[in-house]
């Protein structure tokens, strides 16, 4: 068979103009985000359905929760700004600054994850939990926890929505890391996985080990099959993902937190 011929590049412009002038990866990312928004849409639908169908939906979140969630929101908003700067720098072919801004974005993202997992630990300690979650040592249910667990749907939807979102942010940080550091990012992730693994098993932080290990496998396969240096268009596509994840939070924050505030 004439397989050897394939090495020649095809003549440029042999294709119809691409859709809206966009290159494939960008379209691919838009499409992924479209389907992912339906995935989140279905979760939000389930949340609204449960909320409407339940007469005594609890509103237990006090000042502390809202401040924490606001700080998390601020982290994500800032990370969107640094992401824009990273894309701009990459567009100027300014590799060092593109990388610096990516790192800044990752730091904000990581701060979000840490605050969020911390919050989960706190809520679980107060008694707002799911039956499967391991008990937190020395924890004692508070008024807030009792209120929240009066309707099991409340904790269920909270953990499903924010958990899914946290997973997306975690994947986002890992993804940006690959864009910034390429192959060198794998050992860093391995260290992170080992680090989180040794956090006690009851802690939400411990669970981060599993998505990280999953990511190591997938990224390992991709880099093995298609080793490459990531360039400006790749960073732009990564930016799309990151902004989308921020956008989703802008739905979760009012729906799940602000609308469940204790009004005193």
């Amino acid at each position: 068979m004439a397989d050897a011929v394939v090495h020649h590049p095809s003549e440029a412009g042999a294709f119809e103009p691409p859709f809206l002038g966009a290159y494939s990866k960008k379209i691919g990312m838009w499409l992924f985000l479209l389907s992912d928004s339906l995935t989140f849409g279905a979760l939000l639908f389930a949340y609204s359905y449960g909320r409407i169908a339940t007469t005594n939906w609890p509103t237990p979140f006090g000042q502390h929760s809202i401040i924490n969630a606001s700080v998390m929101t601020a982290c994500l908003l800032s990370s969107s700004v640094t992401m824009v700067l990273a894309v701009l720098a990459a567009g100027r072919h300014d590799r060092p600054w593109a990388r610096n801004w990516l790192i800044a974005t990752m730091i904000f993202g990581t701060a979000f994850i840490v605050l969020h997992a911390w919050e989960w630990n706190g809520l679980r300690a107060e008694g707002m939990t799911l039956s499967i979650f391991p008990a937190i040592p020395h924890a004692e249910a508070t008024e807030m926890g009792k209120q929240a667990s009066a309707v099991p749907q409340f904790a269920g939807t909270f953990f499903a929505l924010t958990g899914m979102h946290m997973l997306h942010v975690t994947i986002g940080v890992i993804y940006l890391g690959v864009l910034a550091f390429g192959r060198k990012w794998l050992p860093v992730m391995a260290l992170a996985a080992i680090g989180t693994f040794f956090i006690p098993a009851w802690s939400t932080f411990h669970w981060l080990t599993y998505p990280i290990i999953g990511a190591i496998v997938v990224i390992g396969i991709i880099l093995w099959l298609k080793p490459k240096q990531y360039d400006a268009p790749d960073i732009e596509v990564g930016g799309l993902y990151w902004h989308f994840v921020d956008l989703v939070w802008m739905f979760i924050f009012p729906l799940v937190y602000l609308m469940s505030t204790r009004i005193t």
Partner: protein, 591 residues
Amino acid sequence: MAEHNEHAGHEHGAPTGFIRKYIFSLDHKVIGLQYYFLALASVFIGMLLSLLMRIHLIWPTAHIPLMGEIKPEMYLTLLTMHGTFMVFFVLTTAPQSGFGNYFLPIQIGAPDMAFPVLNMLSFWTTFVAFLVMIAAFFVEGGAPLHGWTGYAPLSAIPSAGPGETLGADLWIISIAIFCIASLMGALNFITTILDLRCKGMSLMRMPLTCWAWFITAILGLLAFGVLLSAGILLLADRNLGTSFFVPGGLVVNGTQIQHKGGSPLLWQHLFWFFGHPEVYIAILPGMGVASQLLSTFSRKPIFGYKAMVYAIVGIGVLGFFVWGHHMFMSGMSPYSAFAFSLMTMAIGVPSAIKTFNWLGTIWRGRVQFDSPMLFAVGFVSLFVSGGLSGPFLAQPLLDIYLHDTFFVVAHFHLIMGVAAIFGIFAATYYWFPKMFGRMMNEPMAQAHFWLTLIGTYAIFMPMHYEGMAARPRRYSQLTEVAWLQHLMPVEKFVTYAAFITIAAQFIFVFNLFWSMFKGQRATDNPWHSTTLEWTTATPPVHDNFGCKTPVVYHGPYEYSVPGAPNDYVMQTDPTPHGGHVPKEDKPLEAE
């Protein structure tokens, strides 16, 4: 632009090692075949399960080798896994991921899919889903019994029955993995069509197969994301102690369930929001293939190309607004039922347009009844037979009687099950020469066709009658029920018909593998088709067109063009009337 070409898959030459070439291949053609053979394995599993069900229905105490007697809950397991394998691993896999992967890039003149790595990952993810699904048979308690629709609360409560413990978890996990794989596949298909059409291949010059794959991919992209969420929530209900789908105060097998306050209807909404588009995911590629073949084998342009395109798009759009017709019985408000009923009947319009255009295409054509054509005609026949019962079911009043009877079973098996399978057969007989360089044996193919056509009608037509006689769906052991006694002869007839039809499928498999090695050698364009896959080498080389990108000058179905020297004009023919004929095809022109 540089980025654009980079995806064209040129920069890596053909891989050499066995693993990179056949196992973790990035070549869309190899991946297409991998999907095809996965579907072939699945269809045999599904068929075996249905055989056991049919045996059980007429001889409930029969002793099955290795299994013993089939207990009622075992019957439900067979039913669930039959439906699951057929819908997900056959009807979603072969027509779209299998043939779509193989022929979509070639038909639009692309060297590969837009994202070859993603393509490979999506196949192997599907394969993992397949393994997990198989594993469900072998864990303690066996496979689940909640049906392919996985209705809660049965599916949400591990103590609800055997198979609802670990088996059900594996089932849900497998479906979730399958969703992720399908999403990856769908976005690859869409991007490929949007970005990798060769010069001259405008959207309105694409073969209807490509349009069908395109719209199917969009449906998949929008529908599987929702099923994924539903699956995650169901897993959470089962394992994390949430209660999205389980109502409060439920008593199962004498114990009160701890869950509070969820709604089983939420599952039905989420599932059918996916489920109805899914039935079109199964059938649209078959429609594309039927259109392509009816035109080719009637030696006539497709009747109303544009109408066909708009009809596919219309079906795709409407398909998202009719899910409620599966829930007329759920106590929904009559106003919603009315709206869903209206939308459902509206979707009959584009379906009818397609049907009439198919008939218009054959009308007064010089029809050649080769095996691909027979199966394409069979597809239309089954689609019409199954489709006619749709508008009846779409009436809430009638549906309240017919729902959960064998009438529905007859409806969806004809229109979705067997019609889509006929699409797969048609595509196999048509493209086999291109994929393997040999022709399939025609007498065997003809025998296979007639046995299968008559067999499937014999199986599914009587089911309408049984349904109207109120024979319920998803029940085992009706042999003892007095008021269904008069249906037993029908049940027997159906089972015997199933024996014959299943036996006939071995002709197909034998023909498939025998022809791969012993079939008559094929020319590059044995059917005198016009589309791009028939301009390539047989089988196509690694980048399809041997480092040239074709240029397209014609629409896809220019047959019997007045004034043209041949009765077909290749899409790549630069002359207006198609004077140019590839040399090697000349001798066959005699017929």
